[in-house]
């Protein structure tokens, strides 16, 4: 396998000007991974500041309902309300070690922007967040949160004015300012070494899950389920189980159905292409232009996916399924009522798949769902979708 490749996927499809920054990042990352000072400081931030480890909650009501043993990995309880902070703390600390003096990030729904703003504030690095103009309106509350945390939000008015354009804008900023700026990419996408860095920082989810389930059940789970947009929470929980006899299922945004063309399921319905620095699966037209995507969950509304997922799909090691907006909304309400946990709409896709898959599981089977984020951010949207009645 070539450097920076996952099977045939991944690589570094970027303008020449960025190559020096990617090479520097790769070298630094290789060094700090071996640096005990870095590990101990990151460990402090994760445990004392962010609230790790997160619980692996056995859900009695859900288990009775589904007829198997269901656990939720509670990334919703991490500081900031989602798994995003695992990555932003890791990369922000790395940026400090690299001597960078400024962080930039892209954000769609605002979760990664908020997590970057938190990490920047905690580590004393100024943060500028690129956000599609459409998203700044849809997610005005998160814009305010980021500003409250001291970050500057830069609306992006080009292209479709959403997440992919925010990534383009952040890459342009980085090209122009790479000596003092670290681009804190929010998912396991983009050019090498980003997919690897993000996967490594998110793998804490799977490592904890593995330890916790062994303590609790004395064996590994039968199935682990996670939602996949860019795929960072999924790769984080899957990675430590890849070598085990554990069924891994990634759940994509089926939107209004794969036949409708309005969805975000690049692995289920896309084709292989180069997008924003990496070869992976992509929702594209016949000429190679990325298509507009749709999902009720803003965090899954993206035309491509991390290259490691592309490899895991081709090898058959992970199964990728799509769940519609309607199924996700049902799961959102269902989990709220059944367990008193309001999931993020993204995470609700994983819950929805669990509801669908439960028929095939025995009562002793162990099912782990990665609850990647909490749903407070989505409550207003869901209320408006349903005329105020949940």
């Amino acid at each position: 396998m070539k450097t920076g490749r996952y099977g045939v996927y991944g690589g570094q499809y970027v303008p020449e000007t960025l190559m020096s920054a990617l090479i520097e990042l790769e070298e630094t990352y290789g060094r700090i991974r071996e640096d005990p000072e870095f590990s101990s400081r990151l460990s402090w931030y994760l445990h004392e500041y962010a609230g790790r480890e997160t619980p692996l909650t056995f859900c009695g009501n859900l288990s009775r309902d589904l007829g198997c043993r269901v656990y939720l990995k509670r990334e919703d309880l991490l500081h900031g309300g989602a798994h995003k902070l695992n990555n932003t703390l890791g990369q922000a600390l790395m940026a400090k070690f690299m001597g960078k003096r400024r962080l930039i990030a892209e954000t769609g729904a605002g979760q990664h922007g908020v997590a970057t703003a938190i990490a920047g504030a905690a580590l004393g690095l100024p943060v500028e967040v690129y956000m599609g103009e459409v998203d700044t309106r849809r997610q005005a509350l998160n814009v305010f949160r980021m500003e409250l945390l001291g970050a500057r939000v830069i609306p992006v008015a080009s292209g479709t004015r959403t997440l992919k354009d925010a990534i383009n804008a952040a890459m342009r900023d980085w090209v122009a300012n790479l000596r003092e700026t670290h681009y804190l990419l929010g998912s396991c996408v983009g050019p090498h070494p980003f997919p690897r860095i993000v996967r490594d920082f998110q793998s804490v989810i799977g490592e904890e899950t593995r330890r916790q389930i062994l303590e609790r059940e004395g064996r590994l789970p039968d199935t682990v389920v996670a939602c996949v947009g860019g795929g960072s929470n999924a790769i984080g929980i899957f990675y430590p189980f890849v070598g085990d006899d554990v069924r891994l299922v990634g759940v994509e945004a089926g939107g209004e159905g794969l036949d409708s063309g309005r969805h975000g399921a690049s692995l289920s319905a896309g084709s292989v292409g180069v997008f924003q620095g990496a070869l992976s699966y992509l929702l594209q037209d016949g000429d190679g232009q990325a298509l507009e995507t749709h999902s009720v969950a803003a965090g899954l509304d993206h035309p491509s996916v991390g290259p490691e997922h592309a490899m895991l799909k081709d090898s058959g090691r992970v199964r990728y399924e799509a769940v519609t907006d309607a199924e996700a909304l049902h799961a959102f309400r269902y989990l709220s009522r059944t367990e008193g946990i309001i999931p993020a709409l993204e995470s609700a896709h994983a819950v929805a798949y669990a509801l669908r898959a439960a028929d095939d599981l025995d009562k002793d089977d162990i099912l782990v769902v990665n609850l990647s984020g909490r749903g407070d951010k989505d409550v207003a949207d869901v209320a408006s979708l349903h005329g105020g009645v949940a």
Binding site: Q12, P15, E16, T17, G159, N168, V175, Q284, G286, D287
Partner: protein, 278 residues
């Protein structure tokens, strides 16, 4: 001798114009390119419209959007190249593209169609040397020059690797950033031109940010063989939307002004076509 090599052998100072195929419309695009040629562009870079042009600044990105809204596809780009080849048989034409356009079509088909249409070179803005093995055999098979990019941030080792696979000319990126007009060019251009000159016999052209006659002069004085102007011309297309005659006048005037920065030609006022064909 290829058209590109011939041009640089003939002229010590080459003016390269850039346009996005299909901007401001598929039909109007030919008029834009023709005007640039008539006004004195020695070589044209023709961009294949792409929805996510991350190496480009806002002016050229909007041109990509206009071209895509007009429905421009790679087929239309090849048709434009064919038409231009007919209009200016000796003028070098270089396709400027993002890699997914090539990946989607398949490199064999892309390069064969490019060659059949009459393109001389292909510049893939997001395909660094590490990944260039994907296209190198096809460029060679169809006799298309692979125009390499070198940035101010490119290390000497990478310069060597990049130059070992380059042909036609080398595109030196003047600054750390995306395409777009700047008030002044960074001071390091002469250093970059000199460093690359030591490693290759290929002609060197400088682009990114070049938008004023004094920039053109700076580049020429730095010892480059050519200068590439993009955003400053593309902006005129946007400013004269809906007024084709005004747009062509503005392009002619801009190119004439910019060309004044070049090392003077022996016969500066002779119309381009006669000079190329004669």
């Amino acid at each position: 001798m290829s058209r590109i090599a011939g041009l640089f052998a003939r002229k010590s100072s080459v003016f390269i114009g850039f346009t996005v195929a299909g901007d401001p419309g598929i039909e109007a695009s030919f008029g834009v390119a023709k005007t640039m040629i008539d006004a004195g562009a020695d070589l044209l870079e023709i961009a294949v419209p792409y929805a996510d042009p991350v190496a480009d600044g806002p002016v050229i990105e909007r041109a990509h959007v206009r071209a895509l809204r007009a429905g421009t596809t790679p087929d239309d780009v090849f048709a434009l190249v064919r038409e231009l080849r007919g209009y200016a048989p000796a003028l070098p034409l270089v396709l400027f593209t993002y890699h997914n356009i090539i990946h989607r079509r398949g490199p064999d088909r892309f390069f064969s169609e490019a060659a059949a249409a009459g393109a001389d070179g292909v510049l893939i803005v997001d395909l660094p040397v590490e990944e260039s093995g994907e296209v190198a055999p096809y460029a060679a098979r169809y006799g298309i020059d692979r125009i390499a990019l070198i940035a101010p941030t490119t290390s000497p080792e990478r310069q060597h690797a990049i130059l070992s696979g380059a042909s036609g000319f080398v595109y030196l990126i003047s600054l750390e950033g995306v395409t777009g007009e700047r008030d002044r060019l960074p001071p390091g251009i002469a250093g970059l031109v000199g460093a690359v000159r030591e490693k290759t016999g290929l002609p060197l052209a400088v682009g990114f940010g070049v938008s004023r006659p004094e920039h053109v002069r700076t580049v020429a004085d730095a010892g480059a063989n050519g200068v590439i102007v993009g955003s400053a011309l593309v902006r005129l297309i946007e400013e004269h939307a809906g007024d084709e005659a005004g747009m062509q006048d503005a392009l002619r005037a801009a190119i004439a002004t910019l060309r004044r920065g070049l090392v003077p030609d022996p016969e500066p006022d002779m119309p381009r076509r006669e000079r190329v064909e004669g």
